[in-house]
């Protein structure tokens, strides 16, 4: 079991309110990702759930029990830190055994669980090494091993992959997802990387300045962003947001169109522009179009994503046509208009 409910949870550091009162429900077995720009309060929120920070107000319930005043260890949660936070003076075996030793579990059970965890995480050959002798990916696996053996009701991940290089990050991402499928335990995962959020989550919680901007599945967020912030944050490259006369035509303050929902032609189309930089990824090409005459905000940049087969080069004139059914409209408050 691992359902977590936050009621009116808020946090102040001195006079600064980092998290205004918020409510959130996380269901048993869900993979929930907290995502947002740095400083948005996502890590603080995770630490409030873990019990590493005290709440200024509100209540945290785990499996229906109020744990607001319960110490971190007694909440039945495991946490994986960005820095791995392994005990550098202990071997891998002792690191993994540590939470079980603290809980007073007998040696035989400890050994069995360590062996099982080490096997599933490919750590069997490294059990007698110290963390300093391991690579970043191996350290991260040890941290996960230490989290697993406690059999927690939920796992908390605080940006666990940001210290790894790009290739390793993709591998570890898959391993964590596999782990979730296998254990079926609630996982809360904090990241600033929207790609991680989109690929891993059952449910994404988008945060900005401590406020929940939207909660939903990855595709909900992609197709129906509730406001301009979510629209700009989810999706890569970013959604083009256009204001002014062009938006007024659609009875909106702002209209948005994702780079992949724009048709490009060299002869005719709705908007005209000049190609700046073209980024060729092979399968796709991102072209950055200037001088469209559209009010796209700072930088006069309109991004389009086209299939890799179209040849365009710097200085070419292109015509852009948005796919009308994929157009997003926002009102003066930045909220979505259906």
């Amino acid at each position: 079991m691992g359902s977590i409910v936050l009621k009116d949870v808020n946090k102040k550091f001195g006079e600064t309110e980092v998290i205004p009162p918020l409510d959130l429900e996380i269901n048993d077995g869900e993979f929930v990702v907290f995502v947002g720009p740095s400083g948005c309060g996502k890590s603080t929120l995770l630490r409030l759930i873990a019990g590493l920070e005290d709440l200024t107000g509100g209540q945290v319930n785990i499996d229906g029990k109020d744990v607001t005043e319960v110490s971190p260890a007694k909440r039945g949660l495991s946490m994986v830190f960005q820095s791995y936070a392994l005990y550098p003076h202990m071997t891998v075996r002792k690191n993994i055994a540590f939470p079980m030793r603290m809980a007073g579990i007998d040696q035989a059970t400890q050994d069995a669980k360590i062996d099982a965890a080490a096997k599933s995480l490919n750590l069997t050959d490294y059990l007698d090494r110290k963390p300093g002798q391991l690579s970043g990916g191996q350290r991260q696996r040890v941290a996960i091993g230490r989290a697993i053996v406690r059999e927690p009701s939920a796992f908390l991940f605080d940006e666990p992959l940001s210290n790894l290089d790009a290739a390793l990050r993709v591998g570890m991402r898959l391993e964590i997802m596999e782990l979730h499928k296998k254990l079926n335990t609630t996982m809360i995962y904090v990241t600033h990387d929207q790609v991680e959020a989109m690929t891993m989550a059952d449910k994404i919680v988008v945060l900005q300045a401590g406020v929940i901007e939207q909660v939903g599945s990855p595709l909900e967020l992609y197709h129906k962003p509730r406001n301009k912030f979510v629209a700009g944050f989810i999706g890569s490259p970013k959604m083009n947001q256009i204001e002014g006369a062009e938006a007024a035509k659609h009875n909106a303050k702002t209209i948005g169109i994702r780079p992949e929902h724009v048709d490009v032609s060299k002869t005719e189309g709705t908007w005209k522009g000049v190609v700046g930089v073209a980024e060729h990824l092979g399968s796709d090409t991102f072209i950055h179009v200037h001088e469209t005459g559209l009010d796209v905000g700072e930088g006069d940049l309109f991004t389009v994503r086209i299939s890799g087969n179209i040849e365009v080069s710097h200085g070419d004139t292109v015509y852009l046509t948005p796919q009308m059914d994929k157009l997003h409209k926002f009102d003066a408050q930045g909220l979505r208009i259906e």
């Binding site: 873990a50 019990g51 590493l52 110490s71 971190p72 260890a73 007694k74 949660l77 495991s78 946490m79 830190f81 960005q82 820095s83 791995y84 936070a85 392994l86 005990y87 550098p88 003076h89 540590f98 939470p99 603290m102 809980a103 963390p131 300093g132 230490r146 406690r150």
Partner: protein, 278 residues
Amino acid sequence: MAIVAQTSRFSRIAWPTLAWVVGLIFFFPIFYMVLTSFKTDADAVNPDMLFSFTPTLENYANMTDNYDYWRFATNSVIVSVFATLFALVVGVPCAYAMAFNPSRATKDVLMWMLSTKMLPAAAVLYPMTFLTKNVFGLFDTHFLVILVLCLINLPIVVWMLFTYFKDIPKDIIEAGKMDGLTTWGEVKEILIPLAWGGIVSTALLTFIFCWNEAYWTVRLTTIDAATLSKLIEGNRAPEGLFFGRLSAVSTAAVGPIIVLGWFCQKQLVSGVAFGAVK
């Protein structure tokens, strides 16, 4: 090719030479003290016998015959060991609290602690002697010397431990919290093992400071709790200085600490370079 900075011949020779010269200047008084301890009192003050004299062990023989060197030495060991231990027992939790649960006042408290070291000891000489002698009746007791040595070294102890503890990533302590450690558990399982080098360095330095302390140990003791500092002081006889005898006593007093420092120099230096796995 040639752009790569090369150590010039000058600096390869000049710097080590300078270091040796400075080292020898510092070492010379100690060397001369040891040398003088093997001269008779008469030879010690004779300018013609600076380096050429007939060595004698008379001064050392006198020392154990006349003043019971071992009692003073035992006292030195007792007060230094216990003062160091108490300073650590108080200092470790104190530095732990300030390193891992800092408040807005932490910096001020640290500064205030250090500022107590700026107080001239002479300023409190009268209240200290009067109160300990006439009010508390603690004068010339081990307890008093231990207490005073512990207190005067505590600011340094807390400062040193604080800097070592600060190097331990907070995440590791928090991981410990998640894994079920109590506050004492954090200190025992994580803090002490990880900062062990730093703690040992702090202990060694404190021990050396306690051993060498002379101002209070001389003034707050007479016989029962007198340390080696007092023994040296006591060899200033009214009829003049007996340099040979004094040098022997001094050599015997600083000898143990020099030997200790020699064996622990690696620890003293490496304690500073301590760092945990990031």
